[in-house]
Amino acid sequence: MTSQNTHLSEEQIICAVVDEQDLPAAVQHHLSACPMCQDKKQQFDRALNTLEEMTEAFSPLPQRKIRLPDHQPFFGKITWFPVRIPAFAAGLALFLLTLSIWYPGNLEVSKEKMRAQVLREAELSPPLMKEINALEEYTLPDLCQEISGESYGYFTNEFMDFVVPPEESRIDAVRSDHSRA
């Protein structure tokens, strides 16, 4: 019995439903000539068609209309952005962590630098240096110096002249007494 006279097996029927062209030529020839095999295939085809129709008929309908944005969203153009968000966040966290570890040490260094810079600028400005020197010499204000007893403001030249008058003024005073007498 040749394959042309043999009816199609169950597997061949399924194969014919998937793609008839995949069957051997002899089987295809038998299928085209045998009403029994054709009927078997058609029954299976009908079942599948019913399945298709039922899936469509029993499917729900969309309730919402699709709303397309007027313009392409900003991040839509940068296609890498949504994909790279976790990588970006991880990178940012690492950067902040590094900064928090590194920054306090760097702050000390920057303080030293700032002091050196101020000194350099002060040296270049004579009035400022004069003021600084004065402050160094008289560290306390006058009132504070008076309180501490470190001030000698009263012993001025006038005061000393009064206590110990100079020779010329003493002679002048004697002459004036004689003339009056």
Partner: protein, 228 residues
Amino acid sequence: MHFKESLMAMNLRYSICNSPGKPGTEKGQDSGLMTNGENLVSSLVESAKAGNRNDLEQLVNLFHKDIFRMVCCRTRSQMDAEDLTQEIFIQMMKSLPGLRDVRRFRSWLFRIALNRVRDFYRKKNILEFFGTSADVDDACRVPSEKRDGPLEKVAQKEFWQQFHQFSDTLSRWEKEVFLLRFADHLGIREIAETLEKNESTVKTHLYRALKKFRNNTEFHRLLKGGTL
């Protein structure tokens, strides 16, 4: 959308779904010739790519129902399907300039949809792991294309129950090919393009799925008694 545009969309849908080699035909194989519907879709895609807003909207209206049905069948939730469909079309709009072959638009769009559904399940699995996922199965409670009475609703519920029961017995790729072929009405070539596999692999998966379908007498009985 104007009535004229709706009519055009309906005609296009009919033309695409009933073109030779498309589901609904006996062979289910794709012919090399392009139909009027496919030509119209191609011209719409070209125009939308060039920035024509009206054609883009027409394209969306044309495939809205198909994509929604595809997503709904996989997520089994109307609300999730609505959200995902919206996202899919926005993704389509963004990626459209990168589409090389406009004739492959349909399979390209289904690939976007399939990837979105996979993302959805990945997210859902993570949420379920943390116990924060709300599992809503309202596919049977939403109005179907045929807005019928209670008897039809029972039939509809029973059908989906059987359908999902059967599809859950299939392996991953068998299920994917079976759904694309019989629920989404794609041809073998389109399925191969959507899944980025060669046609013979698709046929092998389809063959295995059909073999299991053939042995599922209960589902068969339901289909034989199915009245539409």
